[in-house]
């Protein structure tokens, strides 16, 4: 079997997904023995050759990003939305909560250190789209590999599937399924609710390293989030913030979370939730219905 040809590209992202590939360290060398990266992200458009797999990370936020995505689609047999920004829009998608003009005004005019500001407008820099989009909102996507960034192990499994001609599969259950924390009360049938308010971990006297965060009164996105991240944040003794995105059966990650919370909080408990949108939809704003609601038109 010949080497499969891969092209990788970055739209608007932080480069973390590409660093995650490098974090395979020595193992990357093994993978490269059966896979050829024929185009790195920085090659000239005209030179993108026909490839078996086009891997794109980052969200689509300006007109250049859109063009690149379309060129990749043309040249690639299979397109992979690589990482959460490409799959769901990611953190930069939070921009969709604001209209573009106010975002630009803040960046280039209002910021306290800016002197005599103006909004850059040269043709040399690409025009921003009014809303940040996920990759599948611009081109057809064959595979999705979420994670901010995906773990090197998951990237490896993904590549190995491709190399063996298997369809890559994503884990289907939620993060609670792989989380090793204990539950003391949650699954015990009883009338009392588990917690009476929602805290930040910084407010806890002691952050229990073994007890479910929800049982400690801390909002954890685990119930609404796809597993497969090795629950790294939770092992770091901080709650999940949902970077793997929702499971297949949940359309809206934030709504799913509120639904889950409703079963463990008292009737008025949800009012203690601050910044529901910024937590529940931190990674999936561009694929949710929220911005359209806010637009109100």
């Amino acid at each position: 079997m010949g080497k499969i040809k891969v092209a990788t590209g970055i739209l608007q992202g932080c480069f973390g997904c590409h660093i995650a590939i490098l974090d395979l360290h020595e193992e990357l060398l093994d993978i490269l023995s059966s896979m050829e990266i024929v185009r790195s992200p920085i090659n000239d458009v005209k030179d993108v050759p026909e490839v078996d797999v086009g891997l794109l990370d980052g969200s689509v936020s300006n007109m250049d990003n859109e063009n690149v995505a379309k060129i990749f689609r043309e040249k690639s047999e299979k397109i992979v939305a690589f990482g959460t920004c490409a799959c769901l829009g990611g953190v930069p998608g939070l921009r969709n909560l604001f209209d573009l003009q106010s975002v630009l005004n803040r960046g280039y005019i209002e910021t306290e250190s800016t002197v005599d500001g103006k909004i850059p407008s040269s043709d040399e820099i690409p025009k921003l789209l009014p809303y940040v989009k996920a990759l599948h909102q611009v081109i057809d996507v064959d595979y999705k590999l979420p994670g901010c960034p995906p773990t090197p192990q998951r990237i490896k499994e993904f590549f190995v599937s491709l190399l063996n001609g298997r369809e890559p599969v994503l884990p289907k259950k939620n993060l609670c399924h792989e989380c090793l924390r204990q539950h003391k009360e949650m699954y015990v049938p009883k009338r009392e609710f588990i917690t009476d308010s929602v805290h930040s971990i910084t407010e806890l006297e002691h952050i229990d390293e073994t007890l479910c965060f929800l049982e400690q009164g801390v909002l954890c996105m685990g119930p609404a989030t796809r597993e497969g991240c090795d629950s790294r944040c939770i092992k770091g003794n901080t709650p999940c913030r949902g970077c793997m995105g929702p499971t297949d059966d949940a359309m809206e990650q934030g709504a799913k979370m509120i639904n889950a919370l409703a079963t463990i909080l008292p009737a008025g408990g949800l009012m203690f939730l601050e910044d529901v949108v910024g937590v529940g939809y931190r990674y999936s704003m561009p694929v949710s219905i929220i911005p359209h609601v806010m637009e109100g038109k």
């Binding site: 973390g16 995650a20 790195s40 300006n62 306290e112 949108v277």
Partner: protein, 469 residues
Amino acid sequence: MNRKITIEPVTKIEGHGKVTVFLDDKGEVSDAHFHVTEFRGFEKFCEGRMFWDMPVITTRICGICPVSHHLASAKACDDLLGIEIPPAAKKLRELMHMGQFIHSHSLHFFFLAAPDFVMGYNSDPLKRSVIGILEKDPDLARKAIKLRKIGQTIIDKVGGRPIHPVTAIPGGMSKPLSHEDRFNLKNMTKDAIALSSLSVEIAEKILESAPISDLGDIKTAHMGLVKNGNLELYDGRLRMIDENGKIMEEFNTGDYLDYIGEHVEDYSWLKFPFYKKKGWPGGVYRVAPISRLNVADRISTPLASAKMKSITDRRPLQANMYYHYARTIELLYAAERAFELLSDDEIVSRDVRVRVDRKEGGSEGIGVIEAPRGTLIHHYWTEDSKISKVNIIVATAHNNKAMDLSVAGVANAYIHKGAVNEGILNKIEMAIRCYDPCLSCSTHAIGKMPLKVDIVSRDGTILKQMRKD
């Protein structure tokens, strides 16, 4: 006829940065612009978030140096709460930061810069990558991979994840370091010191053999953190020196707005910080490795200190070629400092946080840190614990004007009377790479950096096209 030359080191497929060189009527270089084509709007969309979430939102600004944003953000939160974190938490955060310097500096030096030197400037671009080094000198390539892995492992064990860490929280750290992790990391760090020393030796050879005058060298002021005069990456005060090395200012990081302003140009989404007292563009200054070695009086760790002394008489370092040497000295410092921190028994203390309450009413906090690419500033305002305003100055921004000037400097040496020497492509790429701008660095890691030059008349006709694949 005025002409414009467009160079796209990061071409349209990427869309993150490109260069335009402007020629005057006589065909001589009049100006150069390094365009940053990326804008995401963190300063707006963080409004409305809870302040304690900021350290895990702002990491997403950069996947190469997320630790810097994580820590600058956590420091800004501590500041707005008006609290001191326990000493062990400070040490753990600094250790995480040293892990990042080991990862980021070795990524830059071995994966991006070294291929040029090891493989030769004019070698096959496909081979001019870490993969090429692997074929030519597999032992060196494996050492490079090992060194970067040590850095990422430190971040992973202390920060919870190697990319976008989570453990620095307002009030300290979410978890202590286990004895087992401490033991393993300490052993690894010994290797890191040896590998970093090797890096310095390689950089020394490069410095001795390379022509250092044609990389668009410029003379500017410099800025960086110092602590009691020592090189400092996590804490301390900001010091600014003029182009002759004289100290102009030394101030508390919380006063940065009195000294630093940001200018906006039409041609870049990245702003241009400047020293306010000298105004724009006279107040241009640089940050990152050579600047930090210029502003510091000394380095506190023995091996890095000895290396710094060897170049003390050449300070202030101005030539871009010194960036690589300075970067490896910092790499060595980071490895030595990590070892020091891991040798301190307090590093495994269980006392790693103070409980903090919400912040009712209005508050404001500033967190400043030296990221691998220079000074990073996070400034938050809150209303009842919700972020109301955010101002962030990222490291690469401070060097924005300097990159323009460097590119113009290179172009000056290669373009005369409208005739463009093909060698310019390589040199512009190298001049930009000296600054290790965050926006492009990781993309070079597993590939090459082709350049495209369009020579365009004012009416838009392409007179000549040059490319390096």
